[in-house]
Symmetry: C2
DNA sequence: CTCCTATTATCCATAACTGACTATTTGGGA
DNA sequence: TCCCAAATAGTCAGTTATGGATAATAGGAG
């Protein structure tokens, strides 16, 4: 799996939208925003222009000419090339078939959580649970709203996936809290000791 | 939540390890690798030096002097400052309590999956399931091995979390495949039509 | 009719990251 | 004993990403 000439996932979205018709960068930008793709793909205005340049340099898109409307700045329109079509297809196949090792922030937090005393970690974890529940409700509402507007379910799978992950995380955090407060596992005990504290209890509020 | 002066999560690990004692960059690098933190934190040798510099500039660590062993290059030893201790604490609290909006690659893939015909997506998704199962077995083995070596469970929570996410993803992909192949939901039908194909079936092999 | 703001469209300076490179030393095998 | 591989310690060039800056026009409030 040699490295891609253009690695930024924003480029994948660009390739995908250019299969429909040639576009100029700003048009791509607006389309991405309108479709809510900025929820799934890290996106900022500036990097879109860079990504299009990179794609052009790699031969995946080609400048198709320029157009102008009124006195607005000139627009450079880009079209997908055959190489670009091939890249899109190959990249999508890879992304769907091969899970990537990634670094979610919460993994980092967990790997260093022993740096906090358990008496501090517990309320923070409970707070996280609240936030996760709120986040879940938001996504649920977004999906239901879109379905009501007639958006086909297929275009909302990524949000369903997010829901799945959210629920799994909530279950995990709940279990984690139990393990910390359960005196039988001994987890909370040694952890608290290390920080010079008493073992945590199941109480909702710490003294 | 104003932006952190040093945003790279590698910096968090550095702050965390420096609470134990002052270290020089290479020592930090080796310690991180030995503890397997490179599984949880995006890490490469070069950026560690940059991150330490950034931390120094921000006042979170301070050059403590230099030491030398034999004819090896001189080592610059860094120690945590009070500001650094405060930053570590505050950052950890934020990471634990506040879920961040992130962009996992599979979310991107799903958001663009309609670009592939369902006849292609199906085998790819099945392949992903295999990979996920393999990945799960690997992590399971890693955890069990570490527990056997006497590593306390608390230092393996991040791997347990990964397992949880993996299982959730497997369940999701399984459901997704069912939704595509189930003729009642109509998903596969319209999707296939759009690509000029017949609706997918439940068969394991496509003609 | 004029001013203010939002939109359209792109560019660019700066900061950050990546991967490769240098150069010495130690340990172990033939 | 000699040589190679791995470990030690750090630097740096080239590439990417980020978040404004720029600049023209359209739309609407007053």
């Amino acid at each position: 799996m040699a490295k891609r000439k253009v690695a930024n996932l924003l480029a994948l979205a660009v390739l995908s939208y250019l299969t429909q018709r040639p576009m100029y960068p700003y048009e791509l930008s607006r389309t991405l925003r309108d479709h809510g793709d900025d929820r799934s793909i890290k996106f900022n205005h500036g990097s879109l222009y860079m990504v299009v340049q990179q794609l052009a340099r790699a031969g995946f898109v080609a400048e198709q000419g320029t157009s102008r409307e009124g006195q607005r700045p000139e627009r450079t329109v880009y079209a997908l090339t055959d190489a670009g079509r091939a890249e899109l297809r190959d990249w999508m196949r890879e992304l769907v078939a091969e899970p990537q090792h990634e670094y979610p922030q919460f993994v980092t937090a967990l790997s260093l959580i022993a740096a906090l005393p358990p008496s501090e970690a517990l309320p923070l974890l409970r707070r996280r649970l609240d936030r996760l529940a709120a986040s879940r409700a938001e996504i649920r509402a977004l999906i239901d709203g879109a379905l009501d507007q007639g958006v086909p379910g297929l275009f909302l799978v990524e949000e369903e996936y997010r829901l799945t992950l959210l629920d799994a995380e909530r279950a995990f955090v709940t279990r984690f809290i139990e393990q910390i407060t359960d005196p039988d596992t001994g987890w909370g005990g040694r952890w608290a000791e290390f920080h010079g504290e008493h073992p945590p209890t199941n109480e909702r509020t710490e003294s």
